[in-house]
Amino acid sequence: METVQVATLQQHLDRFAGEDVFIHLETTNGAYANHFNEEVFNAGAFIRNVQLRYELAKVVGDSPHRVGLKLPNGWVYAQGITHFEIDEHDRLLMAGHDFSGKLAVALQISRTPFAY
């Protein structure tokens, strides 16, 4: 993965607009967050291989970035995106890694379903 360059990432987001795509979206502070610090309220969300079509996508802000997808009847967004890559299957993988190198958020877009 490389650090987000807004113009490049924006071009890739635009490529998938108006097409049926599969989405992976995840936020997490780790299963052990509350074990290591009982003050932490552990919350997260995960969806994988939900199919949708977006009409507009934007990457916004300084790093860590926000990425939002506008759907005909709704929205998808992720906050904290630091890195992205186009993988060997032409999937757009975006992720936010915290200062210690742990993934905190991921948003991925693919024309074919992700593995299980």
Binding site: M1, T3, H24, E26, T28, G30, A31, Y32, H35, E38, F46, T82, H83, E85, D87, R91, L93, A95, H97, D98, F99, S100, G101, K102, L103, A104, A106, Q108, F114, A115, Y116
Partner: protein, 229 residues
Amino acid sequence: MTIPHEEAVLVIFPHPDDEAFGVSGTISTYIKQGTPVTYACLTLGEMGRNLGNPPFATRESLPQIRKKELQASADAMGLKDLRMMGLRDKTIEFEDDNKMVQLVQDLIDDVKPSLIITFYPDYSVHPDHEATARAVSRAVYRMPQEQRPKIYAVAFSNATKDDLGEPHVIHDITEAREQKMGAMRAHISQTAWMLEEMEKRLADGEPEAENWLHFERFYIFDVETSKYQ
């Protein structure tokens, strides 16, 4: 130093590396003693968070990396019967409970263990650990009493010592020290941070750092009194 003989040992954990810190010395010692050991690993740790910054892997490439690490850990321990069960990290508690019991029962029927090593329900923190522990408890309880294997359970939640007291079983794994270090190193994508810290403490001669290379601790789990039957 040996540990008590078993006919066959079945280790059931949800994540590659769950065996490394607390059980790999025991696995290696059983193997050295000629006891057949099967390790069923339920997922490939697909949702691991240690991807580095700059990242060395993506959410999509991580499973293949961890699969190789798991195999390398098995090789380090001398383990021949490694089974990857194909579930997805962080989803085990949402699977059908009876399907999970059946998965465990099928493993038991096949391996015929005299001992199962897994997590202790309600004291193992991660939702996948807990779901694995519940499935094992239920599967073993539902067996005819005289056929049930023993369960050695790993517990490490913050309430463990207060509620369960001291571990019931302590294995001296000193002679498997190298194998244990090998298993820890095999899972380098997940253990790099811990190992770095540990090796510093070992070099400083801290007794606690030495401790985990000599002893592994388990609670005997009794399905008769379990909440999960």
